[in-house]
Assembly symmetry: C2
Homo-oligomer: 161 residues x 2
């Protein structure tokens, strides 16, 4: 059976069963964006100095890994994070920067639910762990991570659907 890919966020915990796939986005990354973010938050030569970056290990300017993470969040909010059921994320496991992100790249998202369980301690809440992959325009995964997401359950939200 072909998997169903959802192109917009769910609403509540129940919309995130194991195996559900949420995907979307085509977010352009410009040189100016890379420089602006890195000058403020991650001013290392490979992110802020074109000449040094061209002479360096990556052969050109690359985005800060935290810039890629911020762009991932932008796409995650658009295509994955439940509305209105999102509560918070306590953390992330296994964040990996697999390939450089360069000026002119376009980023998209693929999030696959790996586990989903009701909270023992907090009735009406669920805990979802997903594998989130950020892909470039060639279909290569540039970053992956496993966020933990706390979500409200539909069944605890009287009168809402």
């Amino acid at each position: 059976m072909a998997e169903t890919i959802r192109g917009e966020p769910g609403r509540w915990f129940e919309d995130y069963p194991v195996g559900a796939v949420y995907a979307g986005g085509s977010l352009p990354v410009s040189e100016q964006d890379i420089l602006d973010f890195a000058r403020r938050y991650d001013p290392q030569p490979m992110h802020v100095d074109k000449a040094a970056a061209e002479a360096g290990d990556f052969g050109g300017l690359i985005a800060s890994g935290w810039h890629t993470a911020a762009l991932m969040m932008q796409v995650l909010v658009a295509y994955f994070v439940p509305r209105p059921g999102n509560l918070a994320s306590p953390g992330i496991d296994e964040l990996r920067w697999l390939r450089p992100v360069r000026p002119g790249d376009r980023l998209s998202l693929r999030a696959t639910v790996q586990s989903a369980r009701r909270s023992h301690s907090k009735p009406g809440q669920g805990v979802v762990v997903s594998l989130v992959e950020v892909l470039n325009q060639n279909g290569n995964v540039v970053m992956s991570l496993k966020p933990v997401s706390l979500m409200r359950c539909r069944s605890a939200s009287a009168g809402e659907k």
Copy 2:
């Protein structure tokens, strides 16, 4: 024996033995910073909508976790990342957002080396795993993570100290 806290980055892999502690920073977080970052990268109500945030679970506006991560990187570059020995980071394990970051907070860094080994596959390089903690002005840890850092070895850098 009291531990030595280093207030500036090292240069090469050899400067990051197990147990070394790097610390510093007092980075202010303004409401405007929180709004600016979140409007672009993480436009959820608790980060961008003061009224909704005040009525919500956190009782007020809080920084996007990715904003806290970006601010962490700013302090990490200032106080921990080796110059010129830094190569790259393949990833992060166990990122945890432990407490909200709010307007008016000041963030500082404490990074403790947990493991340090020479690379088997790449002579002249080493792999450092550290526990990075971001603290607020009250000394509470707001975020922790375990980055993996690839660094050049001094012994492979002829003529440099």
